[in-house]
Symmetry: C2
Subunit: 266 residues, 2 copies
Amino acid sequence: VVRTIVVANQKGGVGKTTTVANLGAALSARGHKVCLIDLDPQAHLTMHFGIDPMSERAGMYDVLTADTSLAEAAVGIESNLTIIPSVIDLAAAEVELAGAVGREQILRDRIDAKPFAYEFILIDCPPSLGLLTLNALSAAREVLIPLQPHFLALQGLGQLLETVSLVRRRINPDLTVAGVVFCMFETGTRLAGEVVRDVKEFFASARGGETPWSDARVFQSQIRRNVKLAECPGYGTTISHYDPSSHGATDYNALSEEFLAAFASD
Amino acid sequence: VVRTIVVANQKGGVGKTTTVANLGAALSARGHKVCLIDLDPQAHLTMHFGIDPMSERAGMYDVLTADTSLAEAAVGIESNLTIIPSVIDLAAAEVELAGAVGREQILRDRIDAKPFAYEFILIDCPPSLGLLTLNALSAAREVLIPLQPHFLALQGLGQLLETVSLVRRRINPDLTVAGVVFCMFETGTRLAGEVVRDVKEFFASARGGETPWSDARVFQSQIRRNVKLAECPGYGTTISHYDPSSHGATDYNALSEEFLAAFASD
Ligand SMILES: Nc1ncnc2c1ncn2[C@@H]1O[C@H](COP(=O)(O)OP(=O)(O)OP(=O)(O)O)[C@@H](O)[C@H]1O
Ligand SMILES: Nc1ncnc2c1ncn2[C@@H]1O[C@H](COP(=O)(O)OP(=O)(O)OP(=O)(O)O)[C@@H](O)[C@H]1O
Ligand SMILES: [Mg+2]
Ligand SMILES: [Mg+2]
């Protein structure tokens, strides 16, 4: 069974792209076949792997608006890691698809159209809850929420969960929240401690209820702020290749381990 | 003459809201009458001042889609500082206005409709180049670009400048780029040094040309990473009230001084 995971948070700059790139790479390094999908018109995930989003290649725009299959748009990165890149036209897709029948389910159709020989699909989303993110939520089984432990970043959590609820009720009954992972974590700051406590309390009080997040976990593995994570996209690679001994590599490795253990027990 | 400045960058989480709140407050503390406009449906600027975006009050949604004037939606913060808040419906405005005649110029109409007794208007934008940001660019004279000195944040600069060019050519001939301010600056990292050098070279080579950014400056004042800046929104206030002796307060003060000096010489 393919595990399709959407990495979403409408707050900007909280670590979505960095998490898809590095968690994806860590899962594939452990032998799992992983496909990454770049649904952000700004194409940062595509750039993270050194791929030029302005090139003529087929990308997610063609998959969503034309007859290009996911397999045709796929670009191999390593033996177990593939990416479906974003090209700059993807921004036009939001407007072009606004009137399409079942416009939120185009991506799901494309994924279901061809048997997909991957174990994990990770989808990177833009910083909004627009049509592209809705397509990801409709195609996925689980939502992973990267969260910067800051006041402003915490404010949007309610709205994101609300949107997940709506998608689950109206379009995708399988959708659940896998959990929250704290990114850019600055250990020792009072602010981070307060936000983590608030988030843990929120999910603890929802446990066992009927919401899409009643089984969600706050991942123990926190991704510490580490400049190497901001450097590696400039070299078109992931942290485990760029600096395997850095905190960034250790933290994303630990997250991949916890992620696999969490799934195994499901 | 009112100076209308749009603070824009489609990259998420680079310091747009923090800059509008704290630069605005620093300018008003120096005796200038300042109005802040929250054009982000996520309403982070509104929250930064402790205002509830879910409350029934009139906000930017009503100004853009109904007959509410800016003055009616305005909320006084201090003697020289006013905000026009965002309410959660603002996200609907993008869709509702998509078919309106001159849809990018609604905000400009509203600002021009009533003589505005402010010296500075600072507009906070969402992390996208959609209709709300286009409204801000059409209404403003200057664009201030907050930039995190990271590889991924640098990639979108070209597209942002391209969009400024289009707006200037087709809608707003007065639009120019005031400059770039580096936010969340981590002194001493090689990455920050490289990005700053690249950006300075880019604007230096454009100087004296015919582009909207040929007079743009890279502000000397850099806003250093400082957790107090992330704490103060949780208290509904700005850095100069929350912790006037912090780096954050010093840096935004220095930026306001440089900003005023730059304008004085225009
Ligand atoms: N743990 C970390 N430590 C230091 N820098 C980080 C970390 N995680 C991400 N970054 C950097 O911070 C910036 C924001 O991260 P990223 O782009 O992954 O967030 P995002 O949520 O995808 O942003 P957007 O909303 O614009 O899509 C990037 O420049 C990235 O390189
Ligand atoms: N210099 C700084 N030092 C530390 N934290 C900062 C600094 N500037 C901003 N922050 C924090 O970093 C986060 C991102 O900043 P902010 O929300 O202002 O960016 P933005 O560009 O407005 O984001 P968005 O794209 O989501 O609108 C916020 O939590 C903010 O409190
Ligand atoms: Mg991203
Ligand atoms: Mg903001």
